[in-house]
């Protein structure tokens, strides 16, 4: 740089500084956050049949980022959520991963579909090997395939929802205590998710309650069955008193509705009855009969007296009518990311990934810990029942809401992992 240029720059910088200091008096936060924002790429369907689910998730991430920014962001930097539409496709998601990396995004988050999550884990591994200077961390907020934290586990992947094996363990633990359960029927969607639940359900129930009889185990095609009556007839004929299903969306609503219409009197143990739009289509068909295992439902904020969560969910719902505060784990994810960055003292992906290992944070329901061995979050889970008998918040304006039946402490959701984590050498 020549002397003249340097002098010129100095003058310009002085000018900017003086005006900036004048501004800083009026806008302290703006001056603090003048560094580039920390960007998180949100990769989920924003068009097509699952656009509504992807859109609700994006809104929740954006809302929480906004809250965080209002309180000074992370390390003085703002958080920015960049939405990418993957159209539910794994191929598309890998394309987006490249795009995000080119734009200098070091954190991506995704949740809808384990097939996408699996592809992203592979993609991120490959990318980080080839680009050690431009690494990416994958924060998974909803994909629950157990392989993601077992065979396929990766140092760069963090799972914030209890995986399917943990949920099934929690469900069967709860069922083992219900003496009235004698005959169980399993009905699931015919792909990896449903097949896993069918197998794990049979195995775990066999271990815990020898007297429970598995009276049926059916797989049906995903999203293709319009009329579930024939399946209901089979459940009825089997004499089951309890049904376990990992179905989601219309496959769940249609199933439960068909059961209600045929006068089938069973308890439904589900994963996803609280999902977006499902309470609306279930309505009174589900009242008193449908249970779900989740890390969160809105009435827990009342039960556990969490005023911060209550004001948050109320504000969120006021702003976006028609959708609800579906994921506590999105908040956990953002809070943990913040804590990890502050602990690492930077937003460097590798340092943050190391900081996340074994990290704990307090939620109103207890401690959540990121297990180092497989990067699976351990958090309390809850069994809840849909019905008129809820504390305060109904679901999607239906007049029915979730009532907690039991808490399963984080420790009791623990499932062993086969993960052999390969960690990068730590640069000191």
């Amino acid at each position: 740089m020549s002397e003249r240029e340097a002098a010129l720059k100095g003058a310009v910088a002085g000018l900017i500084l003086s005006s900036a200091s004048a501004l800083a008096v009026m806008l302290p936060t703006a001056a603090m956050a003048q560094e580039e924002p920390i960007r998180i790429g949100y990769i989920d369907p924003l068009s097509g049949p699952f656009a509504n689910v992807g859109d609700a998730g994006l809104k929740q991430f954006r809302y929480l980022a906004e809250k965080m920014n209002a309180e000074g962001g992370i390390l003085g930097r703002d958080i920015e959520i960049v939405g990418f539409d993957n159209k539910s496709s794994a191929q598309e998601s890998l394309q987006i991963l490249r795009e995000a990396a080119d734009e200098g995004i070091h954190y991506v988050t995704q949740g809808n579909g384990s097939h996408v999550a699996g592809a992203l884990v592979d993609g991120v591994e490959k990318h980080n090997r080839r680009n050690p200077d431009n690494r990416i961390v994958f924060l998974n907020y909803a994909a629950v395939d157990p392989t993601l934290t077992n065979e396929k586990c990766s140092f760069w992947h963090f799972g914030f929802d209890a995986n399917s094996a943990m949920k099934m363990k929690a469900i069967t633990d709860y069922m083992a205590d219900q003496d009235q359960i004698k005959k169980v029927f399993l009905i699931n969607q015919d792909y990896s998710h449903g097949q896993f639940i069918s197998q794990a359900g049979k195995d775990l129930l066999g271990e815990k309650r020898l007297d429970i009889e598995i009276v049926g185990d059916v797989l049906h095609p995903v999203g293709k069955v319009k009329d579930f009556s024939p399946y209901i007839s089979r459940i009825k004929a089997s004499g089951a008193d309890t049904v376990i299903t990992g179905n989601w969306g219309n496959d769940l609503s249609l199933l439960v509705k068909a059961g209600d219409q045929a006068g089938l009197d069973v308890d439904w143990y589900t994963y996803y009855a609280g999902g977006l739009g499902t309470p609306t289509s279930l309505g009174k068909a589900a009242a008193g009969k449908v249970k779900m295992i989740t890390e969160w439902q809105e009435n827990l904020a009342v039960r556990y007296e969490a005023p911060e969560l209550r004001s948050m969910l109320e504000e969120f719902e006021q702003r976006y009518s028609g959708i609800e505060f579906y994921y506590l784990r999105v908040k956990t994810e953002m809070d943990m990311l913040k804590k990890a960055m502050e602990k690492a003292g930077s937003a460097d992906p590798q340092a943050v990934a190391f900081a996340l290992e074994d990290m704990s944070i307090e939620t109103p329901f207890g401690t959540a810990t990121m297990r180092a061995a497989d990067h699976q979050l351990m958090q309390p889970l809850f069994m809840s029942t849909f019905g008129e008998d809820y504390l305060e918040y109904d679901s999607e304006g239906t007049g029915f809401g979730w009532k907690m039946d039991a808490e399963i402490p984080a420790d009791e959701t623990r499932v062993e992992t086969s993960c052999e984590m390969k960690r990068p050498t730590r640069a000191s």
């Binding site: 049949p49 009329d227 007839s233 004929a237 045929a262 006068g263 739009g277 309505g283 028609g322």
Partner: protein
């Protein structure tokens, strides 16, 4: 055993009749106009959504009357403004036109009613148990669907075969020039047929929207299977559509009930073979594929369908 057969029969006939309600309009439009209407299931969805909105104000019975009329009028408008002009450019253009229409209607529905399912309920007057059989309830609404489907078949059949209007419609199909020369307005007859066909789809939507779920994916879910029914029954044949609907309804329902595999059957015959191969897969999992398999087979061995008259 008898129990499960009876239930499978009941369920199969009901599902078949629901399919028929949809397929009748499609086959009518094709039979009378030669237009293969890809957007047919979209009109079915419109029927359900219109019924939802109308039932908020006038209740279910008002919706049952008005929603199909609205959908029919919309169909007439689309035929008059769009399809009639496209018609000049041949069948491919028509196909593409209705194909585009599917997406236009899909997006419109999302814009107006949103992405989420709407709370369209079965009317309280029909929300009771008609009878119980072997401990299973048969809801009154299912009975109502069956009744409406049968009434629909009889009405359409009488309209086409026994009335002057039906005669003119059938004549315009085979001899449009002659009918025109006799002073009838053939294009207007086509508009009427299209409106009638889409109106029937709308009626099916009104009936099925609350029995299933009224949501933006419902057209997409129903579209392919309706085509299978129409192809199987024979394009343009009302009776064929009825038979094909029932066949598909029964086949899918009975397949679900089959709780054994081909390997199991071999095993019971004393041959232990293929338990781990594709033969070991439970037959019920093949059920959803059967309608499409039937369509492929019928296209190979009897291209005009079970009762169709056209070779196409």
């Amino acid at each position: 055993m008898i129990e499960s057969v009876v239930f499978s029969l009941l369920n199969g006939v009901l599902y078949g009749m629901l399919l028929f309600m949809l397929a009748s309009g499609l086959t009518l439009i094709f039979g009378m106009m030669g237009v293969l209407n890809f957007a047919h299931a979209s009109f079915y969805m419109l029927g359900a959504y219109c019924a939802y909105s109308i039932s908020q104000v006038l209740g279910f019975w008002g919706a049952l009357v008005i929603a199909p009329i609205i959908v029919g009028l919309l169909g007439a408008l689309i035929e008059r403004v769009g399809l009639r002009n496209v018609h000049k450019h041949g069948h491919v253009a028509e196909l593409l036109f209705t194909f585009g229409l599917v997406y236009v209607i899909d997006e419109l529905v999302i814009l107006v009613w949103g992405q989420l399912p709407v709370d369209y309920r079965i009317p309280e007057a029909l929300d009771f148990t008609l009878f119980s059989l072997y401990g299973s309830d048969f809801p009154a609404y299912r009975g109502f669907i069956l009744f409406m489907a049968v009434a629909m078949f009889v009405a359409i059949y009488l309209l086409l075969v026994r009335t002057r209007v039906g005669m003119i419609i059938r004549a315009s199909l085979s001899h449009p020039d002659m009918v025109g020369a006799l002073g009838h307005n053939v294009p207007r007859i086509f508009t009427f047929v299209f409106a009638f066909g889409t109106g029937l789809a709308g009626l099916a939507g009104v009936m099925a929207g609350n029995y299933f779920i009224t949501e933006p994916g419902m057209a997409f879910a129903m579209g392919p299977i309706v085509f299978v029914v129409v192809v199987l029954g024979g394009l343009g044949s009302l009776g064929g559509a009825l038979v094909a609907s029932l066949i598909i309804g029964l086949v899918t329902t009975f397949a679900v009930g089959m709780n054994y595999s081909i390997a199991d059957m071999l095993a019971s015959a004393g041959i232990a073979f293929g338990q781990d191969s594709v033969l070991g897969i439970n037959l019920s999992r093949f059920g959803p594929m059967l309608p499409y398999l039937l369509m492929v087979l019928i296209l190979i061995f009897r291209p005009r369908g079970l009762m169709g008259s056209r070779e196409s």
